[in-house]
């Protein structure tokens, strides 16, 4: 099995799906000749040509609209939005159009497409290259939202998203694009179904539910707390809409304590949904308040490195919060 970074795994998924199904095509800003600003589509235009790997004008609304038109005609477009922060010019196309095609047509039409976008911070990208946008899309019936955190998940979930009959927002943690490598399978065995969370570390004392970049932070904190005899269970949601409520409930039932950890601004983040739902459904099992650990309510991350660090939670701060909750 080849050793892959997350961004390589994304590229492999695109290449494999394009080889498997000629309806699959890629479009976006700089995805062709340049291969994407992060290299996620590197080599694809040389391999599949300028039609199936298309450099679009700098206009996100039309990128999504064109992808939608292709999907309505039977293609399986994968649109890249260069940074998740720039999905907002396409918000109307995504929320009012793409998401509602199947429902408003009473099932006569469908709109199977994938919108890939790198998100999150910690790369000195400042306000417009650091935002976490999942909450906006997780509130939209008709959309699916995926947030992988490892190379194997990125590949397997992207392949599944491309094959999914409904529109999928696929949010890639840019800070992890080249952060690490892991063995990733080729072809069909690499597939990972949407909608399944995963317990990435078992522990009896406290459940941490997270996704994306913060999976690594949670594991780091969990390792440190083990030294103090605190056993943390870490759940990686992987798919945010629909999310795996059953697996999460089962974990919380065992540990009796839950922290929801996310990178987006705290107020109104998707973690609020997870916390609210589990606080309600696990009420009888809870030994401590369901606690959210998230980014402060300031507009994303400043450029200055020290301010960026002040914004982005690190293992120290997360460890401290978890320790407090474990001892509640």
């Amino acid at each position: 099995m080849p050793d892959r970074t997350l961004v390589q795994a994304v590229r492999d998924a695109l290449r494999e799906e394009m080889e498997r199904d000629e309806r699959v095509c890629v479009l976006g800003e700089d995805v062709g000749r340049k291969g994407g600003v992060f290299g996620a589509t590197e080599g694809l235009q040389a391999r599949f040509g300028a039609r199936r790997v298309m450099d679009t004008p700098l206009a996100e609304s039309s990128i999504v609209a064109v992808a939608q038109g292709l999907a309505l005609e039977g293609y399986r477009p994968v649109a890249e939005i260069q940074f998740a922060d720039y999905s907002f010019p396409a918000f109307n196309q995504i929320v009012n159009e793409v998401a509602k095609v199947r429902y408003r047509s009473n099932g006569d039409f469908s709109c199977p497409l994938v919108i890939r976008a790198p998100q999150g911070g910690g790369v000195r990208g400042a306000f417009y290259h650091s935002q976490s946008v999942e909450a906006y899309y997780c509130h939209v019936p008709g959309l699916k939202v995926v947030a992988p955190s490892t190379p194997a998940d990125a590949k397997g979930l992207l392949k599944a998203a491309i094959r999914d009959p409904d529109p999928v927002i696929f949010l890639e943690p840019k800070k992890l694009y080249r952060a690490g490598r892991e063995d990733v399978q080729d072809g069909e065995p690499a597939l990972r179904p949407l909608g399944q969370a995963r317990i990435v570390r078992e522990g009896a004392d406290l459940t941490v539910i997270t996704y994306g970049y913060f999976r690594a932070v949670a594991l780091d904190a969990a390792a440190r707390l083990q030294a103090d005899g605190i056993e943390i269970e870490v759940v990686d949601l992987r798919t945010l809409r629909p999310w795996d409520v059953a697996l999460c409930m089962e974990s919380v039932a065992r540990t009796g304590r839950l922290a929801v950890l996310y990178e987006a601004n705290r107020t109104g983040g998707f973690g609020a949904e997870v916390a609210a739902e589990l606080a309600e459904r696990c009420f009888a099992n809870l030994d401590a308040p369901v606690t959210r650990i998230a980014s402060p309510d300031v507009p994303s991350m400043p450029f200055n490195a020290r301010l960026e660090q002040a914004f982005l939670l690190d293992a120290d701060r997360v460890t401290a919060e978890l320790a407090r909750l474990a001892r509640f």
Binding site: P57, S61, S62, V66, A67, R102, S105
Partner: protein, 332 residues
């Protein structure tokens, strides 16, 4: 005055023209009935094509409903009939019945959709269908079967960023798209001078290096000719065309609006006198293609058709509330 020779030079037969004329009259008859049904409270909300019917049907007549794609907007009631929707189907949608083929009564009447007819389901949102049509056009070009995507919208929609993005994309990739603007000079209460900077909608085509054509929307043959030329260009791989059909909005924006509140009575009266349907009838009579008796027969049979469609739609049952949860996703 038009001659039969000129008309036949367009490749139109008498049958085709009379079929189109009948569709136009059908739209008017159905719409008049819908308006009454709205006033009696039987139908909640209607957007009238009154004044646009001739332009709409002329445009669709230049396309091929079997093969082409249609992104219609909420005012395209007559266009929908020309695309193959039946009187009964459109009445079912007015009554929001589950048998409404566009949405099963889920959408307001006017958001037409039918996959088998190539009518791409729309929304009430002004503008998004324009770049979407560019994408559909791109797909049709890739398929190489000569299919064309027709997309229509009002002049108000040309103010949206999506109008610009759609034309720019379609022009760059020579997508086979006919952009058809039904310019009635009003966007609800906002007049063209506060909406469209510059000489007009057709003049915007030059910005993208594509043909822009302005045409009198009450002239069936002129609209048919303009759209036919655009369709030929598109099928030949020469790319998109922007057509501006100048029409009149002979009704308020919708049954929720009353244009007497923001337009001059004299102007409204003058426009009412310029209804395009009598004009087309006169032209057909001049051509010797339509006699008063034939016309009376057509109108009479349409009345029966409208009565029957209304009765069937009225009699149709409401949807099961449980269907609310269907079709959010493929598996749910």
């Amino acid at each position: 005055m038009t001659t039969t020779a000129e008309v036949e030079a367009l490749g139109l037969t008498r049958e085709q023209v009379l079929t189109a004329y009948t569709t136009i009259c059908r739209a008017r008859a159905l719409d008049d009935r819908r308006f009454l049904l709205n006033r009696t409270g039987a139908v909640a909300f209607i957007i009238s094509p009154r004044g646009h019917e001739v332009a709409q049907v002329a445009a669709i007549s230049a396309l091929d409903p079997g093969r082409d794609r249609f992104c219609l907007y909420y005012r395209d009631f007559a266009a929908a009939l020309a695309c193959g929707f039946t009187s009964e189907e459109l009445m079912l949608s007015a009554f929001a019945r589950p048998q409404d083929p566009s949405s099963g009564g889920r959408q307001t009447p006017g958001n037409f959709g039918s996959r088998r007819r190539g009518v791409i389901v729309g929304s009430s949102t002004v503008g998004p269908q324009i770049p979407k049509a560019a994408g559909i056009g791109l797909a049709l070009r890739w398929q190489g079967a000569g299919g064309v995507c027709y997309v229509s919208f009002g002049e108000g929609a040309t103010s949206q960023g999506d109008f610009h993005e759609g034309l720019n994309f379609a022009a760059i990739h020579r997508c086979p798209v006919v952009f058809f603007c039904e310019n009635n000079h009003w966007a609800i209460s906002v007049p063209q001078e506060l909406q469209v900077a510059g000489p007009g909608v057709a003049a915007r085509a030059a910005a993208y290096g594509i043909p822009g054509v302005a045409v009198a929307g009450d002239d069936f043959f002129a609209v048919y000719r303009a759209v036919s030329v655009a369709v030929q260009r598109a099928r030949a791989g020469e790319g998109p065309t922007l057509i501006e059909a100048r029409v009149l909005r002979l009704q308020s924006h919708s049954t929720d609006d009353d244009q007497r509140g923001y337009r001059e009575a004299a102007e409204l009266a003058a426009e009412a006198a310029r209804d395009p349907i009598p004009r087309m009838r006169a032209t057909l009579t001049e051509l010797g293609w339509l006699s008063a008796q034939e016309d009376a027969r057509i109108q009479a049979s349409l009345m029966l058709e409208v009565d029957a469609a209304t009765a069937q739609a009225e009699a149709a049952s409401d949807p099961d509330p449980q269907t609310l949860f269907a079709h959010v996703y493929a598996d749910a």
